[in-house]
Symmetry: C2
Subunit: 352 residues, 2 copies
C-alpha cells in the first residue's frame, strides 16, 4: 500500500457529473474501439527498446507461427493469457476495483447508518486508509458482498460503468481505463495479428472487467476470466433475471488462475504474462507445456514514469509495494523473461 | 428410459479392439474436420423441409444480419447456444456419458472387489438396467465421482477419447459421435456463416464433450459449457498437474445453463436451441432479450428414423421417454418454434 493517505473518491459528489461525462465517454469509446479494430502492427512492439525481452516476444511469435518451425502451433491452439492489474494497467496505489468498492461504501452509506460505527465500514467512511491497507481477506469479502451483490448482473455492470466513466487516479488524474500500458497493447496486438486469442485472467471481478475489456483491450467479455460471485436465476414479473448473491463462486487467483484457464478455455496457454505472486501458477502452467512458451513477468522498477515495487505479492495480502524475491528467483530458475519497465519500455502509457 | 433391457457395453472386452479402431478413427476425424472447415452453406438448411420452422431460422438470420433491419445485431454480439443430448445427437436409450460411466464401472471393477455387493455398483455390474434406470441423483454422483475423478484432466480426456473411439450405440451400431443430426449441423453452419459464435451448453461433462466438440461439431473447447468437477492444482516431481476431485464444481442444467452462459460468455444469446426441461431456462433467457431471438425446441416424434418421446424431462429424473406437456405449453405461450423431427427434417443423421 504505497499511498496510505489516498483520498477517498466519494461517488456521491460525482453523481451530478455523470450525465456530463457520459457523452464524452461514449464518443471516446467508439474512437478507441475503431482504432483497436483497425490496428495492424506494421512495426511490432514499437514502444519496446531492443534487447533480450523484446527479442523473446519476437522469437516466440516466429517459433510458433512459422510453418517450418519445429514449434509451430496450430491456429486453434494459439492461446495467450494476461493478468490485468500491474500487467496491463496500473495497480498502484490501490487496485481499481478495490477503490470502486470503497467508493460504493461511501455511496451506500446513507442507507446504512449502522456502518458509521461498524468495521470495516467505519474505517472506509472515515477515510482511514491506514486501516484499509490492513484489511483482512474477510473484511474485504464483507465489503465486496455488500457493495457488489444484492442486484442483478445488468444493474451491477451499469454501476461499474458509471464509476469507470468518472473516477480518476489520484496521481495521474485520469480515468483508470486510460492507465493501460502501451507496450502491453502492442504485445496483445502482435499476438492477435499472428492468430493468438488473447485472454485476461485476473483475480479481480470478471463482471467488472467485462464492462470495459472490449473497449480498452480489444478483448471480448467471453475472453475475460476472473473471480465471480454466485448468481441466482429468478423470474420477476415474468421476466428472468440473474441476481448477484453475497457469496464467492470462484476465486481466480494463484492456483485459481490455472483452474480458471482450464475451466473456461480447456487448452494450455502458449503465452502467459503477469506481475505478481498471484500469477505464479499461471506462468508455471504455461511453462510446463511442450514447445515454445512465452512466460513473462512485469517488473515495476520505474518510479519516475510509474512505480517501483518489483514483482509483487497478490491479494489477499495486498502486498503491492512489497518486492517479492521468491518470484524473481523462480523467474530466473524457470527462464521467465523479466520485463523492466524502466529499461524495456520507451513509453509506458497509451496517453503519452 | 425407453429401453430397460439395454445391454451393458462392457469396456473390458473392447480393450483389445482399441488399437485397431484408433487408426480408422484418426483418419475419419481428419476428413470430418476438413469437411467442417470447408463447408459453405450455399443451400442453407438443405435437410429441412420447407415450412414455418425452417422459415423461423431464415427469418432470424435475415433480421439479425441485414444492416437495414431494425433488429440488426453487431457481429460481436451474435451468440447462439445449443443443448447437446437430444438436440445435437441421440440421447436414447441412455445419455452417452451415462453409458461411458457405466462402462467405466465395469472396467474398474477388478480393482474394487467390494463393488460386487455394494449398490449402486452391484446393479451396474450385474447389468440390472431396470435398477440403473431408477438411480437417484446421489447414486449417479457416486458413480461419476468414482469413475470421473482421481486422475489428471489429461488422463481423463484420454480415457474418454478411447471410449468414444470404440463404444457403439445399441440400435444404430455406430459410434456415438456419428449419431449427430444433419439438420442441426446445417443450423450451426448457417449461423456461423453469418457471424454467429456457436456454443454447446449442456448438463453433461464439459471435459468429456471437449474431447470431440471441435471434430464433431466444429465447436472449439472454449465454446463448450457444461457441468464440471472441482479441480486441484498440484505439483508432482516439479511438474504441475490439474487433478480431478470427487466433488461437483458446477451443475450446468436447468437454471445452471443460464448461470453458465453468463459466467462463460457474459452476453445473452440471440439463439438458443434445446429439447428438454433442462433447457427451459436457457430458452427463457434468450427470449427475454430485445429484438429478434431464435428459440427452438426439438420434438422427438419420429420412432422410425430415431425415437418418439416428445420434449423430455432432464436429469436427475432421467425422464427421457416421458413426454413433458408443460414444456410444450411453455413453447406455445412464449412463441418458441417446435422442431418436429418427423415433419421438419428430410434427413435425420449425417451418415444417411
Amino acid at each position: 500500500m504505497g499511498s496510505p493517505k489516498l483520498p477517498a473518491l466519494s461517488g456521491i459528489s460525482r453523481r451530478s457529473a455523470l450525465l456530463t461525462f457520459a457523452g464524452t465517454f461514449a464518443a471516446a469509446s467508439l474512437a478507441r474501439y475503431a482504432k483497436a479494430q483497425a490496428q495492424t502492427p506494421s512495426t511490432p512492439l514499437a514502444s519496446w527498446n531492443d534487447g533480450p525481452t523484446k527479442q523473446a516476444v519476437l522469437d516466440f511469435i516466429r517459433a510458433t507461427t512459422d510453418q517450418t518451425s519445429k514449434d509451430f502451433v496450430a491456429p486453434e491452439d494459439r492461446i495467450a493469457t494476461f493478468d490485468q492489474d500491474g500487467t496491463l494497467w496500473v495497480e498502484h496505489p490501490l487496485y481499481s476495483q478495490a477503490l470502486f468498492a470503497l467508493d460504493r461504501v461511501h455511496e451506500l452509506a446513507p442507507q446504512h447508518p449502522e456502518w458509521q460505527d461498524q468495521e470495516p465500514f467505519k474505517a472506509v467512511l472515515s477515510n482511514d486508509m491506514a486501516s484499509v491497507a490492513h484489511f483482512t481477506e474477510g473484511e474485504w469479502a464483507e465489503i465486496i458482498f455488500l457493495t457488489h451483490a444484492g442486484m442483478s448482473q445488468g444493474a451491477f455492470q451499469e454501476i461499474a460503468k458509471q464509476w469507470l466513466a468518472t473516477a480518476k487516479h489520484p496521481r495521474f488524474k485520469r480515468l483508470y481505463t486510460d492507465l493501460t500500458y502501451q507496450p502491453m497493447h502492442e504485445v496483445m496486438d502482435y499476438l492477435r495479428a499472428n492468430g493468438f486469442k488473447t485472454y485476461i485472467v485476473s483475480g479481480f471481478g470478471q463482471d467488472f472487467m467485462r464492462v470495459y475489456s472490449q473497449r480498452v483491450y480489444g478483448i471480448p467479455p467471453e475472453q475475460v476470466i476472473g473471480s465471480s460471485l454466485t448468481t441466482k436465476y429468478e423470474i420477476e414479473n415474468g421476466k428472468p433475471e440473474l441476481m448477484r448473491m453475497p457469496k464467492l463462486f470462484f476465486n481466480c487467483n494463484f492456483d485459481g488462475k490455472v483452474i480458471g484457464i482450464d475451466l473456461f478455455i480447456g487448452k494450455r496457454p502458449y503465452a502467459s504474462i503477469g506481475n505478481s505472486t498471484g500469477d505464479r501458477q499461471m506462468l508455471e502452467w504455461a511453462g510446463a507445456g511442450s514447445g515454445a512458451r512465452l512466460k513473462m513477468l512485469v517488473y515495476h522498477d520505474d518510479p519516475v514514469r510509474e512505480y517501483a515495487y518489483g514483482p509483487a505479492g497478490g491479494l489477499p495480502d495486498t502486498k503491492v509495494g512489497t518486492f517479492d524475491q521468491s518470484l524473481m528467483d523462480e523467474a530466473k530458475s524457470r527462464g521467465w523473461a523479466v520485463i523492466s519497465m524502466k529499461n524495456d519500455w520507451k513509453r509506458v502509457f497509451t496517453f503519452e
